[in-house]
Amino acid sequence: MITLTSVSKTFDGGRTFVVHDLSLHVHRGELLVILGESGSGKTTTLRMINRLVEPTEGSIHVNGRNTSQTDHVELRRSIGYVFQGIGLFPHMTVEENIAVVPRLLGWEQPRIATRVGELMGMMGLELDTMRHRRPEELSGGQKQRVGVARALAAQPAVLLMDEPFGALDPLTRDSLQTELKRIQQTQQITIVLVTHDMTEALLLGDRIAILRNGTLVAIGTPHDLLTSATDPYVASLMETPKRQADRVEMIARGSENNG
């Protein structure tokens, strides 16, 4: 569905590369997590897919089409995009925010209204009470629900997500993660999600691509990476959630003993 072939990006004329010689393939209907520390080039990689950033070298194909030969406006309208900043339009209501891309695409009003109702239902937003609210009246979780609904409005085949749940409280994050997984499965949508959160990567990803200093160090299913990582960086990275889980378990057991 998405293929990156030897993609490189430099912002300083070739002295340093943010992304270097990256090739990877995302299957149709798959949720690929790109995992990395800040500065690893994960966000730049994501932004090259919808041409918010132009690659310096290499090519990217989405749904069989070379993105550099596709009009960037048309390309972006066919790809959903969700990011940590959410960026809801503060002067528009929830309904209007969700309807932005269908409007840009010139959908008929009844079709837009139906789609907005559908999405709000899917994202757990109560239509009658929420549709006329402005973003300032929403909680953080509600905002990101609207952000996801907006990204999905025009039924894109691909959804790009840049640390979408990073700013949410744990409970909200958990419920949104669960819903995202459900949407991916019911809507048959291809998702690329960028995160630095190991646990999120393991819980959501069908496969995980690990980036370090702009290069791909490993790619595989969570199971493969957890069990058979050869690279020492990847191995230590995979250790962290296990270590944390062990510690949590110890604390839980200790308090039981005390009680």
């Binding site: 960037h72 972006r76 309208r77 995009y81 960026g87 840009l104």
Partner: protein, 514 residues
């Protein structure tokens, strides 16, 4: 008298207010039409940002009255056009700066989202950036509105009627009522327009139809209500055969303009006056045919317009001037009105006696300890340099005053000597001694009637003006000036008195001839 003065001033309100509003509304509309797109462009092309904003800032730092006066030579015309251009330039900075600040101030995550969703640049501008920047942009428009309404009062000296007519003529003729009416009207207009724009903004941001409709209706009412006198006038009077009389910014000129206007009206002409205009602006306007006639002074034309330094006898000077004006400027010097209004140095009679100063020749001995006060022009005029040279005058200090305040300054001892006008009524009233110019360093200042080419081509008009030539003596004029400056009559009333005096003298003159 106060009450009748007030009601007289209020009668002038529809005319002044309608011109003022037309000027303001046109300037703001043009300012918005120019600055909104320019501001948007500047947020897209960063290189332009500095030069464009710097230009607007420079326009703002030029004092309003200077900016207005500068537009006259630039456009080569007087009246509405230069005033409009100056006010457009004046409105630019707040609109431009707030448009740029507003657009650049939009939350970057919102801009990123708009980009990522596949909005084109113009879609982003119109459906995201402008709506979000609107409150800031509207605040800029409101600032511009208040500034332009205020600055438009300075359009009067470049020949555009405005509420400034109240203020300029009121200050000159010591008519506080006129000044207050002018200021209050301008302030009210500024507040009303500002509030209407605010209402429109609230209506837009709350998307409330009733508020939007109310604001549009309020604007329509104000525009139609205030502009109706103009529309009515334009329909009833054709401008083609209207005689336009000009006047400078001092009492005598207001009275003479009224005298000319009423005598032409009596003879069936349609005449209007443009008062409170700058001295050189007025001559240029006559030469360009934008006004038809006004009264100037031979010395002013001789030195400032003809750039002559010599000082020939009166008859010779007038003859030479008549042919020069005709030839070089297409202006007809119809003839002298009879009186002279020259610059003359004057000081309090008491001081003059004490110091034994009777003439400019004995002033030079005491001048180094004295302060001289003058109007805005005198120290930069050739007369002043000639005076200094001929009598070796050196003063301790020079101070510039508004002409209306200069006489009080010498009376109260704030200055020792002033450059008075010889027909000023306050010379008598404040008991000032006019110092003798025995060397004739100051040229003659015969009041002369000047006509444009268009006016000269109308024999009936020329015939109607002829009786005024030679009919106004120094004492008639000084008395008329005194009625306004000291006795606080209006210029119209003083013109009536002056016209009676003229008629009386013509009648007795005619009787004597029989």
């Amino acid at each position: 008298m106060g009450e009748s003065n007030l009601s007289h001033q209020l009668e002038l309100l529809p005319e002044y207010l309608s011109h003022h509003l037309l000027l303001t509304a046109a300037a703001l509309a043009a300012g918005i039409i120019i600055c909104l797109p320019l501001g948007m462009l500047v947020t897209r092309v960063k290189k332009l940002q500095w030069p464009v904003l710097a230009f607007a800032s420079v326009m703002q730092t030029i004092p309003g009255i200077a900016l207005l006066a500068l537009m006259v030579p630039i456009l080569g015309s007087i009246g509405f056009a230069p005033a409009l251009l100056a006010l457009i330039l004046y409105s630019m900075l707040p609109i431009l700066r707030n448009t740029v600040t507003g657009i650049l101030g939009v939350d970057p995550s919102v801009v990123e989202a708009a980009n990522a969703l596949g909005m084109t640049r113009s879609q982003m501008l119109f459906s995201v950036e402008l709506p979000l920047a609107a409150p800031v942009i509207v605040a800029g428009i409101r600032t511009a509105t208040v500034w332009v309404v205020g600055t438009a009062t300075l359009a009067t000296p470049v020949g555009a009627t405005s509420l400034g007519n109240y203020i300029f003529s009121g200050l000159q003729t010591q008519n506080a009522t006129a000044v207050i009416v002018g200021c209050l009207a301008a302030a009210m207009l500024a507040i009303i327009l500002d509030q209407i724009i605010r209402l429109a903004e609230i209506g837009a941001s709350k998307r409330s139809r009733p508020i939007q409709i109310t604001s549009v209706a309020a604007l329509a009412i104000v525009l139609i209500g205030c502009l109706s006198p103009l529309i009515f006038k334009a329909n009833t009077e054709s401008t083609a055969d209207r005689v336009v009389i000009g006047a400078k910014t001092f009492t005598e000129q207001y009275i003479l303009a009224e005298l000319l206007r009423s005598s032409l009206r009596d003879k069936g002409f349609s005449a209007e006056s443009r008062t409170s205009m700058g001295s050189t602006i007025l001559f240029d306007a006559l030469s360009a045919g934008e006004i038809d006639l006004y009264v100037d002074y031979s010395g002013t034309i001789w030195t400032n317009v003809m750039k002559r330094k010599d000082n020939p006898p009166r008859e010779e000077l007038l003859r030479e001037m008549t042919s020069w004006l005709k030839e070089h400027r297409g202006v007809t010097l119809l003839g002298p009105l009879g009186f002279e209004n020259r610059y003359a140095l004057a000081m309090s009679r008491e001081d003059a006696l004490k110091l034994h100063v009777t003439s400019l020749a004995n002033l030079s001995a005491v001048a180094p300890t004295m302060t001289i006060g003058s109007d805005y022009e005198f120290f930069s005029r050739p007369e002043w340099s000639s005076l200094k040279k001929v009598y070796q005058l050196r003063f301790q200090q020079q101070r510039v005053f508004d002409p209306s305040l200069m006489y009080a300054a010498v009376r109260d001892g704030n200055v020792d000597v002033i450059s008075a006008y010889s027909t000023d009524g306050r010379i008598i009233e404040y008991d000032l001694a006019v110092l003798d110019d025995s060397q004739q360093a100051l040229p003659r200042y015969d009041a002369i009637l000047l006509l444009s080419t268009r006016a000269t081509a109308q024999p009936e008009l020329v015939r109607a003006l002829h009786p005024l030539l030679g009919s106004i003596s120094d004492s008639y004029m000084r008395n008329a000036n005194k009625l306004v400056d000291i006795d606080h009559m209006s210029a119209e009333q003083a013109a009536v008195v002056l016209s009676h005096s003229i008629e009386q003298s013509l009648r007795t003159g005619a009787q004597q001839e029989h």
